[in-house]
């Protein structure tokens, strides 16, 4: 049994699994904050920036996912 590989897989899988969700949640939070500010007639640049960066990274993760599938 290749325990070292299994450990590596467990660590990497958990990191990406939790990381992807956290990233998207940050985007949702940022987008929501920005939408609230707009409703009040203003803007939340930090929220918008967080949303744009988070969602862009999520799209990139989807791209990597497709690459992993196709490259097999």
């Amino acid at each position: 049994m290749r325990w070292a590989l299994l450990g590596e897989v467990v660590f990497a899988a958990m990191t990406t699994g939790i990381g992807a969700v956290v990233l998207f949640a940050l985007g949702v939070r940022g987008w929501s904050d920005h939408a609230d500010a707009r409703k009040a007639g203003g803007a939340n640049v930090l929220g918008l920036g967080t949303a744009v960066i988070s969602f862009t990274l999520c799209v990139a993760m989807v791209g990597v996912g497709i690459w992993v599938i196709v490259a097999k």
């Binding site: 897989v9 899988a13 949702v28 939070r29 987008w31 996912g65 497709i66």
Partner: protein, 380 residues
Amino acid sequence: MDLSVLVPLVVVTALFFDFTNGFHDTANAMATSIATGALRPRVAVALSAVLNLVGAFLSVEVAKTISGGLVDDAAITPAVVFGGLVGAIVWNLLTWYVGLPSSSSHALFGGLIGATWVAAGGDAVHFAKLVEKVLVPAVAAPVVAGVAGALATYLAFRITRRATASKTPEGFRVGQIASASLLSLAHGTNDAQKTMGIITLTLISAGTLAPGSGPPTWVIVSAGLAIALGTYLGGWRIIRTLGKGITDIGAPQGFAAQTSATAVILTSSHLGIALSTTHVCSGGILGAGLGTPQAKVHWSTAGRMLLAWLITLPAAGVAGAIAGLVAESGTVGTVAVAVVGVVFACAVFAMSRRDAVGAHNVNDIPVEPLEPAPAPGGTR
């Protein structure tokens, strides 16, 4: 044994296994999206079917061995493959009927091990490989996915707890569609190729194809269509168990469970250890339930699911052994197994009609209602 009867029978049986694999595993990709309303049931299974079909064409790097090294390949004859496939189909149909998610790959391995054992003896089974490739990953998969799902759900709630109520579920539902689509694509690539590999290697062993040949176009197309058709028909009974039977799933939990499971599957596969999609997705949903503040997990359903996982390999093995033993006796035995198999499949389908589960009632709760889980922003 008359190969002109056996080989077409193996091809048809492999395609039927592919079909059951499709409808058995639709739940893995789509159960949470259907449960949270991110996708309407029919749209979800149609999307998953199309992506499974596309996935089947993305790569033709089919398996070099039928069993993945779990048994001695020299002992694998078309009759053994036939017995193994019958064993896997029997187990897939039974677990589908009772609405329990179980691994189609483990069922196939179990069936092949059972059929090989009776044909060539216990020495032909590589037990060390069995532990390394099946048993350890089977334990690791739900634990990894469960912990990832629980932590991801907890963090998603923490991050979005002060977010606007209407935006949060909407955002998570969109994310769910992306991760479910990715998982469907991966499923089509992996599982349709498994069937392509079985058919191709059987045709090579019968001399129909030259050694080292890749799958002919008709094999690729028929395997892709079989898994897509199975996916489209939707294993509604299992979708209901995963979506509504384990825990109450709102959009954040559904997204966290689905996305963490997809990431775990793709990462582990890329690094060289293939974890069962069924075990990972089920573990992710269980974890999402545990990670939700005040949410309840329906442990009786989770326990039944765990039991099904434990007995998948031996149960499919016994069925595969019996089918293989009879099929090894000659053409009459092979045809007899095929007839009994068809009658069994028809009986299971007929029994399932008595309490039919479909797109219309897939979101009905099959067990006693759970306490609704809170949602960030105060709405569900």
